[in-house]
């Protein structure tokens, strides 16, 4: 298929009309090398990037779908998915909140985003970002970033925070150097797919010895029906730099399962520190497991320099299926990797999450704290790898893996993999499984607290160690999400 025929199809698809409240022009379903070229063309990408995508596509075609995770779902028909969707006329944004998709506003409301920030988030022209908040937001709406705020303040500090598609043009040397340097195109099936068709995402660069003056944040939301989401985020902290990045997302009710295959790459140079926090609340499907998002994400960071530090904190409550292992490659000597995770599954949700800590440098340290909560008939698996290579003398890892069960029909599974090839390494693994006991619930009831509130309190207590790692605003939001996600789990 040539670019022209794609464009024609595109127009036809558009004139046929779409259900979404936001007009989106969308590629017809299907994936070929031509579609990959068309995506690249639509984004005016330089030739090197088109080639990069095509290489990924070729690799992807040769790869089998991974089937080792503890998950069961019908095979995804990759030819039934549309690989590009962009909101129209993004240049002239809405004039006021009245013109913004009410569904988007409702989502913001549910997330508890303050009123004064919603306009900026929704890309209202001339909207002033709230002064009370110290969070810069780059909202990804469908496949293209529609708004970026706080740019000036960041520019002053020399921080680059923009859509990746923009960075390709404004900072090609950085993108070309680091894109795929952490997650190569052929890393795994979903990463290869993402590399071929990635839509957009955030790009962050913090210059040497700079502390990013605010938390950086992105709210993702899946909107258009049957539109796969292929965000790609790249964060680089140069020597001695520090950045805290927050990612949060939610999706409205959907009938069909939707595929989400994002890639996040973090690069921390000498003495740099990156803190990446996620609160994820995608539609998990109804009580019977219908609908919901398939979340297959590759997140990885490299501590390139000495004493670099990368910390992943995640709170996962959503998705029908989650397949996600934020990892750290500890290359620099004395570098530190951390993974703090809460994964909650309810109803028929399935989650297979965990982390990989790859120790390459000397005296590298990693900490893993994983809290899994299973309710309903859900299955919750922790899968973690700690690898100490022969070069990693004095490496240390501590893993704490706790499961909390609500009810008797759910499952919690732990799959720790330890590969220690250096005898001076210390690797510790602790695991516990507990239930919310009747005696605990009765104690709460005896003090006047009903079962629903009691469970949410007990679950929040169970997650304390992880919530402590989240920025304040996120910790509150995470608590709320757990409460909402557990609705109906007791009774």
């Amino acid at each position: 298929m040539t670019n022209e025929t794609i464009e024609q199809r595109l127009n036809r698809a558009y004139s046929a009309g779409f259900e979404s409240a936001v007009d989106a022009d969308t590629f017809p379903p299907g994936l070929t090398a031509d579609v990959v070229r068309a995506i690249s063309a639509r984004k005016n990408e330089p030739g090197w990037l088109t080639d990069w995508r095509l290489k990924a596509f070729a690799a992807w075609q040769a790869m089998p779908t991974p089937d080792w995770a503890h998950l069961h779902f019908p095979p995804v028909d990759f030819q039934a998915i549309s690989y590009f969707s962009a909101p129209r006329s993004q240049a002239d944004g809405p004039r006021s909140l009245d013109e913004v998709d009410p569904e988007l506003l409702r989502t913001y409301e549910k997330l508890g985003i303050p009123l004064h920030e919603r306009a900026a988030l929704a890309g209202v022209v001339g909207a002033e970002p709230g002064t009370s908040s110290n969070i810069a937001v780059d909202a990804v709406f469908d496949s293209v970033s529609i708004t970026t705020t706080f740019k000036d303040k960041l520019a002053e500090a020399g921080v680059i925070f923009c859509p990746l598609s923009e960075a390709v043009h404004t900072h090609p040397e950085l993108v070309q150097k680091y894109l795929g340097s952490v997650v190569p195109q052929r890393d795994n099936f979903y990463a290869a797919l993402n590399s071929a068709v990635f839509s957009d995402g955030s790009f962050v660069y913090i210059p040497p010895d700079t502390r990013c003056p605010m938390e950086l944040s992105t709210y993702f939301r899946i909107n258009a029906r049957n539109t796969g989401q292929f965000e790609r985020t790249l964060i680089i902290a140069d020597r001695g730099a520090y950045v805290s990045y927050l990612e949060g997302c939610t999706a409205p009710m959907r009938d069909e399962n939707q595929l989400h295959a994002a890639v996040v790459e973090l690069v921390a140079l000498e003495d740099a520190s990156i803190k990446y926090s996620t609160v994820q609340n995608w539609y998990p499907g109804d009580a019977e497991g219908r609908g919901g998002i398939y979340n297959f994400v590759t997140k990885r960071g490299t501590c390139l320099g000495k004493r670099a530090r990368i910390s992943w904190t995640q709170v996962e409550t959503g998705s029908a299926i989650t397949w996600k292992y934020p990892s750290v490659v500890l290359r620099g000597d004395d570098s530190v990797g951390e993974f703090y995770s809460v994964a909650l599954t309810n109803n028929r949700q399935q989650a297979d999450t965990g982390t990989k800590m790859i120790h390459l440098g000397r005296n590298t340290r990693s900490t893993i704290v994983s809290k899994g909560i299973s309710a309903g008939r859900s299955q919750n698996s922790y899968r973690g790898l700690v690898r100490v290579s022969p070069t990693a003398a004095g490496a240390r890892n501590h893993t704490q893996c706790d499961s909390l069960l609500l009810g008797s029909q759910c499952g919690a599974h732990t799959f720790p993999y330890i590969e220690a090839a250096n005898s001076s390494a210390t690797v510790e693994h602790e695991a516990t499984t507990t239930r919310v006991s009747d005696d605990q619930l009765f104690l709460c009831a005896q003090r006047g607290i009903d079962a629903e509130k009691a469970v949410s309190m007990i679950v929040n207590g169970f997650c304390r160690e992880v919530f402590r790692e989240l920025p304040m605003e996120f910790a509150v939001e995470a608590g709320k999400l757990l409460e909402v996600s557990l609705e109906g789990a007791v009774g």
């Binding site: 009765f442 009831a445 003090r447 509130k453 007990i458 207590g461």
Partner: protein, 252 residues
């Protein structure tokens, strides 16, 4: 109106009758002590009154402040002012005492149609109460009973009672596991609470008369085999301490 009127209460666990016709009335502002051998049904009584699941009431009635207690859910009973200090307090890891009691106070205020006091006031009061009970204020930040020693758990029950100001408290062997100083502190704490809340009623379950030196009871009952077989004043407790339960016969 009587605080609680228990009339011919019968209850079973797993089909096994434990309470076999228990009758007891407590008036506001009075302290009743229940003594009795191990396994006689003292904790069962406290659990049935608090509405713990797993017990089947097979006969009799209980009126609490004029309401049918047995028809109320456990949390409703709590909100109506019935408090149980557990013989074996359970732990809730990660949920701080402070947060737990705040949730309890808020739930109870809401059920009574009141506005809960501001968090800052609750915190101040909790610190005061903890200090009075010889608990370091750090205990408020720790998980509910998480890693507390046996005696600390018991003191924590009294802290909760003092903070929540119930109308009737059932203290199930709060004295067991307390060292001599702690016993005095807890005794003084309950006495102070009674002075500050003159209409408050107490049902004290204990094996030892020495607690009654600190919390002076108005009435003492002896419970054996699911029934109260003797009721008297303080001297009954002293007599029991000397003679044990063997000399007592069911005179009802």
């Amino acid at each position: 109106m009587s605080l609680i009127v228990i009339d011919n209460l019968q209850a079973s666990v797993n089909g096994k009758p434990i309470l076999k016709g228990l009758t007891l009335t407590i008036e506001p502002g009075t302290v009743h002590a229940i003594m009795g051998p191990n396994g006689s049904g003292k904790s069962t009584l406290s659990h049935v009154l608090a509405g713990k699941p797993g017990y089947e009431v097979t006969g009799g009635s209980v009126r609490f402040k004029g309401r049918d207690l047995l028809a109320m859910a456990p949390e409703e009973r709590a909100c109506a002012g019935l408090f149980l200090a557990f013989q074996y307090p359970v732990e809730i890891p990660g949920v701080s005492n402070m947060e737990f009691l705040r949730a309890a106070a808020e739930a109870q205020a809401k059920a009574r149609g009141e506005t809960p006091p501001p968090a800052i006031d609750m915190m101040r009061r909790l610190r005061e109460i903890a200090t009075e009970l010889g608990l370091h204020t750090d205990f408020l930040k720790r998980g509910v009973n998480e890693g507390f020693s046996g005696g600390e758990k018991k003191r924590n029950e009294i802290l909760q009672m003092t903070f929540l100001r119930p109308a009737l408290s059932i203290l199930d062997e709060t004295d067991s596991g307390l060292d001599i100083d702690a016993l005095r502190i807890v005794g003084d704490g309950v006495t102070r609470f009674l002075r500050d809340n003159p209409t408050h009623g107490v049902l004290l379950i204990t094996h030892y008369q020495r607690l009654l030196n600190h919390i002076v009871p108005d009435v003492v009952h002896v419970l054996t085999d699911g029934r109260i077989i003797e009721t008297g004043d303080r001297s009954l407790a002293l007599r029991l301490e000397e003679q044990g339960y063997v000399g007592l016969v069911d005179r009802t």
